[in-house]
Every structure is written in structure tokens, then in C-alpha cells.
């Protein structure tokens, strides 16, 4: 077969009609670029998320306990006892208890504010942020003494700081379930500082939770963040926590224990599903691109009927002609694929720069196209050209040489 000549002819005919070639390749270019960008963003997101998890601590275990009305519930003391009993597994415990008391400041009621009872360990002075990623803006966070003595002090999110105190919250006071609290610190904005958002929260010492909840008569969901001694002991720690909780509740539906590793793999699989859906959508563009190539190849076969006749009269067999047109279709889509890959890499870099500019907190996020992804998209684009080039090529191969020679 005359692969070399077919290839050169394909390049030549692409060069002679550049606008047409570009339009033909557009679908492939967009499809390949989209796939590259999506895969790069997905991989970048995954890497970023994993590094965030590692920053928070891969040895963390999140425990959610639902309050069982009327019966005995697990409380913070149960967890601290467990930590003392298994020091080889459990390093520390940070409670995050839901408090349902109504927040008031003067005559104003803040019904949607989430009030959480925590210990001082929820805030890490080394990274200057809480386990939820909130950073201190003004004042200080709850201290060991505050928590130990159940002081009526609190730290508020940026929404309350703005809405209640016009940004000067430190030193002011508010009431939760009728109990007065003094604001000792305010946190920086993490969401958009609106009511009910991630900035509408209050942290109080956890020991006050039973009292405040008792006053409001509420029940809810309590969280505990348990740090295992190392990443390896986290499943053992999870085991002792679960057996402790099962002794209390005798029913595993009242609580949920997730290690960071489990959470990471959950997030990864969710991201995987999301990426698959996006790639499938991008792949539709590749199919449309393939149809574009098929269309232009059909036109090309008609335009070159006479050439096909000449070649046949000189002894070209059906498979020679078919090969020529398939190579041409493959070359077209391969060039489209290369352009798409370059465009995709460019866009991925642009995205990285834009994300870095718009979200300074997402430092370390980079959408990096993988070599594997690039190779696969190149292969797929060539494959699509060959696949969609087959029908027109076959039409060319089946032309009758007499009619083809007479064609004008």
C-alpha cells in the first residue's frame, strides 16, 4: 500500500483548503480540548483535595451521633474516657455538638445561625485555622481555660459580626437560648457572609451544650472529631469507637463513623463519577466532529471521482482507494487532535492561573494534563477519523472506473 503518498496527498489537500480543513477539524478540536481540560481539572482537583486532607490530617476520624430522645446518649465524656482507655489508638478528641438555642441580639432573632459546642482543639494555632478551614480575623479563639471552666464566651462567623455588630464584634455580647455570651473572636469570611451561609455560625465551649439544649428542649446531631495516633491505627480507633457506640445505642443507625481515608476515597469516587459524565458529554463533540469529517470526505470523494477513475484504470484495487481515503480522514482528525491537545493544554494552564487569581485560598491547585490522557485523546481522534472515514472511503472504492473516468 502507498501509505506515504496517501499521507502526503492528505496533507496537501488539507493545505490547499485551509478554511475548509479547519472547519472540518473543529468538532474534533473542541472535543479533544474539552476532554483534556476536564481530565486536567479533575486530576488537579483530586490532587488538591488529597493534599487538603493530608493538611487537615489523614489520621482524623469523623463521628456523627444522632440524639436518641428519652434514652441515654453518648456524650463528650464517653469519648474522652475512650481516649484514656486506648491511648495507643486515640490521640485526641474534639467535640462539635449541635446546640439548638435561639440566638438573639437585642430585639433581633437569628434563627438560621448554627451554634456548635467545641473544644479549643478545633482550632490549630500552627496552621491558624479550624478543622473546617476558618481563619481568625479578630480577637482570639476559645482557650483551654474557657472550655474547662465552661465560660460564657463565643467566637462568631463573619455574617454575625457584620449583621449584629457592624464588624466590631469583639467584646460585644449576645444571647443563646436566653444565656448571655461575650464575643471573644471573629472569623474571616469563607462563603459569602449571608444568612444561613457558612459564615453564619457561633462556636461556644462544648460543656455548655447540655444546659443550652436543655433550656431549648432540643435534640440534634453531635459530631466528634477523633484523631488516631497515626494513619495506620485509624481503623483500629474506628473499631473501638464503634463498639463503644454500639454498647450505648445497640443499633448502628444512630451513629456514623468515617475515617479520613474513607472520606477521601468517597470524594474520589464522587469526583470520578462527575468526571465520567463530563467526559461523556465532551465525547459527544468528538462524535459530531467525526460526522463532520465523514461529511467532508463524502464531498471529497465526489469531487475526486475522476481521480479515482484514473487510479483505478492504472491498476488501483478497491483496497488501495479505500486505504487512501481512510488515511486522509485519519490524517485530518489526527491533525485536529493535535490542535485540540495543544488548545487543551493551553486552556488547562489558563484555568490554573484564573483559579489561582480568583481563589487565593486554593493555593496549590494546578490543572495538569497527563501524558496518558494526551495519548488516549490522540488515539481516539485518529480512531474517529478512521471510523467515520470508512463509509466515504468504501464508497470511493466501489466506484465503477468507467463512470468515474467519464465524470466531470
Amino acid at each position: 500500500m502507498n501509505v506515504g503518498q496517501s499521507f502526503r496527498l492528505a496533507i496537501k489537500s488539507l493545505l490547499t483548503s485551509k478554511a475548509r480543513a479547519l472547519l472540518t477539524m473543529l468538532g474534533i478540536i473542541i472535543g479533544v480540548a474539552a476532554v483534556i481540560v476536564i481530565v486536567s481539572l479533575g486530576t488537579g482537583m483530586q490532587t488538591y483535595m488529597n493534599s487538603q486532607f493530608e493538611q487537615v490530617g489523614v489520621n482524623l476520624i469523623q463521628v456523627m451521633v444522632y440524639e436518641q430522645p428519652g434514652n441515654r446518649n453518648a456524650d463528650a465524656d464517653d469519648f474522652y474516657e475512650l481516649a484514656e482507655k486506648y491511648p495507643q489508638y486515640i490521640d485526641s478528641v474534639t467535640p462539635a455538638l449541635t446546640i439548638s438555642g435561639i440566638v438573639r441580639h437585642g430585639a433581633d432573632e437569628y434563627e438560621r445561625t448554627s451554634v456548635t459546642g467545641v473544644s479549643e482543639t478545633v482550632y490549630n494555632p500552627e496552621t491558624s485555622q479550624t478543622v473546617n478551614g476558618e481563619q481568625l480575623e479578630d480577637g482570639r479563639f476559645l482557650s483551654y481555660v474557657d472550655v474547662e471552666r465552661n465560660q460564657h464566651v463565643c467566637v462568631v462567623g463573619s455574617y454575625l459580626n457584620e449583621a449584629m455588630f457592624g464588624g466590631r464584634g469583639v467584646g460585644q455580647s449576645l444571647t443563646i437560648g436566653g444565656v448571655p455570651f461575650t464575643v471573644i473572636g471573629t472569623m474571616r469570611e469563607t462563603a459569602d457572609s449571608t444568612e444561613g451561609s457558612g459564615d453564619d455560625f457561633i462556636y461556644v465551649p462544648y460543656g455548655l451544650a447540655p444546659q443550652l439544649n436543655g433550656a431549648a428542649g432540643g435534640s440534634g446531631m453531635n459530631g466528634y472529631l477523633v484523631a488516631s495516633t497515626s494513619e495506620d491505627t485509624s481503623s483500629a480507633a474506628k473499631g473501638v469507637i464503634e463498639s463503644m457506640l454500639f454498647r450505648i445505642y445497640e443499633d448502628s443507625s444512630w451513629y456514623q463513623v468515617i475515617t479520613m481515608a474513607e472520606m477521601m476515597s468517597m470524594m474520589d469516587s464522587m469526583l470520578g463519577v462527575l468526571m465520567t459524565i463530563l467526559i461523556v458529554i465532551a465525547a459527544i463533540s468528538l462524535v459530531v466532529g467525526g460526522i463532520g469529517i465523514m461529511n467532508i470526505m463524502l464531498v471529497s470523494v465526489t469531487e475526486r471521482t475522476r481521480e479515482i477513475g484514473i487510479r483505478k484504470s492504472l491498476g488501483a484495487k478497491g483496497r488501495d482507494i479505500r486505504g487512501q481515503f481512510i488515511i486522509e480522514a485519519g490524517t485530518t482528525s489526527a491533525i485536529g487532535g493535535v490542535i485540540g491537545i495543544l488548545l487543551g493544554i493551553l486552556l488547562a494552564n489558563v484555568f490554573t492561573a484564573v483559579v489561582g487569581m480568583v481563589m487565593p485560598t486554593a493555593e496549590g491547585f494546578a490543572a495538569i494534563p497527563s501524558a496518558g490522557g494526551i495519548l488516549v485523546s490522540f488515539g481516539v481522534s485518529v480512531g474517529i477519523g478512521v471510523l467515520f472515514g470508512y463509509l466515504p472511503a468504501n464508497k470511493a472504492a466501489k466506484l465503477n472506473p468507467i463512470d468515474a473516468l467519464r465524470y466531470d
Binding site: 496527498l9 490547499t16 484514473i310 484495487k317 473516468l405
Partner: protein
Amino acid sequence: MEHLIELRDVYKIYQMGDEAVHALDGISLTVDPGEFVAIVGQSGSGKSTAMNIIGCLDVPTSGTYHLAGVDVSTMDDDQQAEIRNKMLGFIFQQYNLIPKLNVLENVELPLLYGGVSASERHRRAMEALERVGLADKCKNLPSQLSGGQQQRVSIARALAGKPSVILADEPTGALDSRTGREVLGFLQKLNAEGDTVVLITHDNSIAVKARRIVRLQDGRIIYDGDAHDPRAVVQPEDEAAAGEAREVLNV
């Protein structure tokens, strides 16, 4: 001696609606190696159909066609392509060069499809171009050459494959009379050097350059013999034309 071309009782029948058209109506014809035969006839006489069948571009409805002793009348498309590649060299009225390929690539085409190696292809194509005197134009595109030169390129292309038969279909039809004569002179020269040439034309003054004339009318052979016999160039019932023919032939 074995005939190079041997058509025996060949029919080609096309179905046009309800009517069966006999493009070839029982033709028997033999051509020996080294002959220069002109197949002459007016349009509709069946000469194009005859050329298609001799050129292995088409198969007869019935009858047999042996080319160099091989029955080619029942071959499939790819087998016919192979026969065209190895045994036949075509020269067309419209030259039929591929405009995007240069002269050398055009001449190399039949060798390419014949599976000849690149260096051998180049050597044989250049040899053929030298034979037609266009070796120096080998890198030109066909559009950069005159009509006569293009036709010589197509002759070189026909020669490159070293075919048993050169089939020329109205080779001078698109040329002015001077270059037309040149091309005919070329065909005569090739024939003198031993090539078998079959020329298809409607033009008597061209046909007489051959050594033998086969005249077709309504799908039948009405004359087959020496090109210099006055009967070769006239319709049997057309006595006025016979006088003209004698003048043309100087007999």
C-alpha cells in the same frame, strides 16, 4: 502463435428501461503482438464499449476475452485491476493526469499500484519520461505543461508499467493538429520499437496512421484489414465518401 488479444463472439447488452441495447453485437477479433490496430467508428458504433472491454474496465455480457491466453472476461474487479496494472497502458483523450501530483509521481502511479520498490519506481519512471523527452520536466505539475507535453506524460505513464498492450482512446482529440500529429508519430515509433498499440478513434485521418483498421458500426465489425484499403475508411454504401477517402490515402 498465440494471439495477444482474442475476443470471441462478444456481446455487451445494456438494459435501458424495457429495451435491450446491443452495444456490442457478437464481435470476434484477434490482435497479435507488435500490431498497430485502429478501432474506428462513429459515436454509438460500440467502439467505446469495445475499448472498455479490451481495457478490462468492463466485462462482456456473453462471449469470451482472452488477454495473452488468460480468460479475463469473468474476472472480478480486483483481478481486473491487477490485469490493467500489469498488461495494459492507457492513453486518454483528456490526458487524465492527477493535477496534485507532479509529472514523475504521475508516471510512477501504475508502478506504485504494482508494488514496485521506490528506487525501481523512480528508475523506470525516469526511463519512460526520457523516452518521451520530458525527463527535465519531472518535478513540474501537469498544469505547468502544454497539452502536447501532458499527453506525452500520459504516454510515459502508460509505458512505465511495460504493458503488453497500449490502449489509446482518442489520444489526439484534445490537441491541435500539429501536436496531434506529433503524438501519433510517437505511437508509430513505439509500435516500430515493438509495442502493440490499439488506437480508438472516430477520425479516419488518424485511423490511417495505424497498420490495420477495424471498423465498427452498430456493434458489429464491418471491416477488418489493411489500413490502406479504401474500404477501411468508408461506409460501404457511401460512394461519395469513398472518393474523398482515395484522395486522403493518395490511391
